[in-house]
């Protein structure tokens, strides 16, 4: 236990910042120790897309109707135009509109 009075709080924050920075550097550092071959490249490629999906899963699960509508609109426009910015804009506007009415 560390007291949060005076310098204690700053020490805690510094430790958190250090841990987070090491995690930001860690992925690239660890990959530097592993020889890059087809399997490792396949792993990285598979991981890239599924991290995106994994971030999305709780957002989609916890979203209300307006939120799910936003995701559907974004997906629809991405399939049609393949342009992220209009797709996101339509999704956000859809959620805002649904909640307004």
């Amino acid at each position: 236990m560390i007291s949060t009075s005076g310098a204690g709080a700053l020490l805690i924050i510094a430790c958190m910042a250090l841990v987070t920075l090491l995690v930001r550097f860690g992925g690239v550092f660890i990959m530097g120790l592993i020889p890059l071959n087809r399997r490792v490249e396949g792993f990285i490629n598979g991981m890239a897309g599924s991290v995106l999906i994994a971030v999305l899963v709780p957002i989609a699960l916890q979203a209300d109707t307006a939120g799910r509508l936003a995701l559907l609109a974004t997906a629809g426009l991405m399939f049609w135009l393949r342009k992220p910015m209009p797709a996101i804009a339509l999704g956000i506007a859809g959620a805002a509109l649904y909640r307004a009415v």
Partner: protein
């Protein structure tokens, strides 16, 4: 993976990345305002709140710190929680390795200082689709860092005066953005299989594993699919 040329990291590229991600940073500002307000209510000193947002720069971990905050803080549990919540950054950093390996070490690590969900996703999308630049990672990271800090300050100063961001759909910005980034990439049967494995693993982790492990679980499951199912001629 298609290139042997180091990705560009010029001022112009970073400035472009900054402006591309700034509009999306709206949700970061809203999230930051919520953090600033919650931190004031938890009893942190203003300078501590600003320092935490500036140096830790990881929203979910910062909210978790508030849960443990009191006259005394258990340091080791707090750091373990920080590590667990931010472990997804290990995976995100690793996915950038094939390109970052071509950059000199000092620039390689410096460009990771502001690594977070949105600028990672945009940078990876750029690199995978042949735009050989780290502008979104560095410039976009700066945009998110600045809006995170500005949001924190706004939450500290104005607190409850801020209108409900949900009314404007701001809570769905990250979700819509991540979805658009996933759909913008090249889709093969193999990548879709990795998505399904990752999505199921994330869903299972949400139900049965400790909180905040779902991104790591999903990423590793998708990675396994990618390692076992190699593309022909790759």
């Amino acid at each position: 993976m298609s290139t042997t040329v180091a990705p560009a990291l010029s001022f112009v590229e970073c400035r472009r990345g900054f402006w591309r991600l700034l509009p999306l940073s709206l949700f970061v500002a809203a999230f930051g305002a919520a953090f600033g307000l919650a931190a004031v209510q938890t009893g942190l000193q203003p300078v501590e709140i600003v320092l935490m947002s500036a140096t830790v720069f990881a929203g979910t971990a910062q909210f978790a710190a508030l849960d443990l905050w009191g006259a005394q803080v258990p340091l080791v549990p707090l750091l373990v929680t920080t590590l667990a919540i931010n472990a997804r950054m290990l995976l995100m950093g690793a996915t950038l390795y094939p390109w970052l390996a071509l950059v000199p070490p000092r620039r390689r690590y410096a460009s990771l200082i502001t690594l977070s969900d949105a600028n990672w996703a945009m940078a990876l999308n750029d690199l995978q689709s042949g735009r050989n630049t780290l502008g979104a990672l560095v410039g976009g990271g700066l945009a998110i860092w600045l809006t995170w800090l500005a949001g924190t300050l706004a939450g500290m100063v104005f607190g409850g005066l801020i209108a409900d961001p949900r009314a404007f759909g701001v809570d769905m910005v990250l979700g819509c953005f991540m979805l658009s980034m996933a759909l913008a990439g090249r889709r093969t049967l193999r990548t879709v299989a990795a998505w399904i494995a990752g999505g199921l693993a994330a869903w299972a982790a949400l139900h049965w594993l400790p909180a905040n492990t779902h991104v790591v679980a999903g990423g590793l499951a998708g990675g396994l699919v990618g390692a076992l199912w190699l593309e022909r001629g790759q």
